[in-house]
Amino acid sequence: MTLMQIAEPDEAPAARLRRRAVGIDLGTTNSLVATVRDDGIAYVIPDDEGRPLVPSIVHYGEGATLVGYDAAPRQSPDPQNTIVSVKRMMGRGLADLTDDRRFPYRFVDGPGMVRLATRAGTKSPVEVSADILRALRERAERRLGGPIDAAVVTVPAYFDDAQRQATKDAAKLAGLPVLRLLNEPTAAAVAYGLDHGIEGTYAVFDLGGGTFDISILKLTRGVFEVLATNGDSALGGDDFDHRVFCWILEAARVPPPSPEDARLLLLRSREAKEMLTGHDAAPIVATLSTGQRIDLSLTAANFSTITRTLVEKTLAPVRRALRDAGLRPDALQGVVLVGGATRMREIRRAVAEFFGQPPLTNLNPDEVVALGAANQANALAGNRERGEDWLLLDVIPLSLGLETMGGLAEKIVPRNSTIPVTRAQEFTTWRDGQTAMAVHVVQGERERVADCRSLARFELRGIPPMAAGAARIRVTFQVDADGLLSVSAREQTTGVEASVTVKPSYGLGDDEIARMLQESFDHAADDMAARSLAESRVEAEAVVNATESALAVDGDLLSADERGAIDDAVAAARHACGREDTAAVRLAVESLNRATAAFAARRMDRGVARALAGRTVDSLA
């Protein structure tokens, strides 16, 4: 027992019982911060002028950084120093921003993540996001009267590790204690589930400014389980604005506009789109820097026509999510709409038609995610009463696994597993005396590593030399509540261990995840064949290796003819491996096995003879 000294009293818990908890919806277009009142009702904290939203816009001006409504007017005159839609750049390399012609910024390609050259210096998307989060934090602290104790920040369900980590980094930079990240559709379900006590199976259709997510959720007695998620990380209200923008250019015969004019016209496009949610036509009036005057009227029918493909584009992920969940569209008890873009009549109509029922819209679609996040933060901060405990289950969007021999991807954690999750599997060495093993962590649904996304690589060294297949190496995958992955490998007999936490491997294409999923469906048959071929090749190589080491040791047991026959069979197996023919490889392995059968028997006899040599029957008894 150690000796103790008297400590200063720990006053914090007694002094203030309720902790300041906030939920933050860090959106592509708008961001919000919400909290839960003492009576358990969540509300969005407005600014001094009563406005609930903070436009996700940051302006780097002369000496001052402006955020939100203050920054918005700078878009047109100073687009290069006024950053909008920064969420699209989170955790992304320059090469991934395939639609960068739509960004009027000066990009600098940095290690891992793209950076922006601004008046205030080179800024990473993490820093820009942190400026938005800081504004939200200050707003909340003014309202709550002190520093924030706990925050929950939402991210699209499709965000990968790099994007989630970037979001966490931004919150940390903004001085927010983030308890966890929460998927946006899940947050929406929290808001609806708790406020209305609805039970059943629901779809959350979230069309925000820049991302589309569909989630199939099961709500039972306050327990939320995500059955499936799907979506498109590059589809949102911005795309509808862009369609209108293109329509304006065409209808008014505008030559390619300057960045300032493009910004102005995009603004007008958005205003027209918003007006059409309640009107049958919207005027578009603007004067460009070239002096050209634009005066158009966009009708609702026209808008429906030019955006029809975008509306249809949302339904493909919906079908996939339903298929993953094993449900038909009419099996759902309700559809929740989230995101300002779901105010469009075209979207509401398409959703109602697809699911055969009108969608739920009782909560403000702009606020619902932040409200749910606030509920979650409140619960995690321990502000809830006893008995109000509830569980929240999230899923991982893509399978996680590692590379095995032959370039195949072995899935360890299947997609749509609920997190946090820990899964382990044992692997072994492939060659005699192998003392190291490379662990290549991959993400994706395809059978071949080449078709999956590489997350990390590390090596386990110090495996004691053993015969192939004797070592036992346990590889453990752990995904925490935020969807961040750590992988460790441990050789069971010696305990040597190596591990990796998946560092933000910034640099995955924006559409990549959606594309990877789609391809896994499209290529299921090819993948199966590729797997068979790779497996048969691995087996052939293993048999050839074993034969050659046997020949090196006991080659004298064979006559020249016999030796020749085995050598021929080895050569044939090698040759077959070079071809894309699974059957041929299998056949060659079989004939090699036959050719070496007699040799194997003789080796066995010699082994027994050696073991018994020089012993008497008595000593064996």
Binding site: M1, T2, L3, M4, I6
Partner: protein, 107 residues
């Protein structure tokens, strides 16, 4: 239910309170932590809470919260010197085992 304090411990508590310049006594208690479940708490008391139980022992006020009391019943708080170290030691008859580092214990 009671806890007690050796005279030498009481003398040190009084001296430390005097040096600190404020405080009405000493709080002893348990909290969950360490590797084996529970750990002792030893703090100055500036303000007694309504639910606290107080003892006056050798002129020193000892404050215990009611939740900690069952774990500490019969405990003697001593002050000892071991080699170069000196400090307080809990002699607790309820302890069944403690972890290797001595930081925590089980009852």
């Amino acid at each position: 239910m009671a806890i007690s304090l050796t005279e030498s411990a009481a003398k040190h508590v009084a001296a430390q309170l005097k040096r600190r310049g404020k405080g009405m006594g000493l709080r002893v208690g348990v909290r969950t932590s360490g590797c084996s479940g529970l750990a002792y708490k030893l703090e100055f008391v500036d303000e007694k809470k309504p639910e606290d139980v107080a003892y006056d022992l050798h002129g020193v006020t000892i404050v215990v919260d009611p939740k900690s009391l069952p774990y500490l019943d019969g405990t003697v708080l001593d002050f000892t010197r071991e080699g170069l170290n000196e400090g307080f030691r809990f002699r607790n008859p309820n302890v069944k085992d403690q972890c290797g580092c001595g930081e925590s214990f089980n009852v």
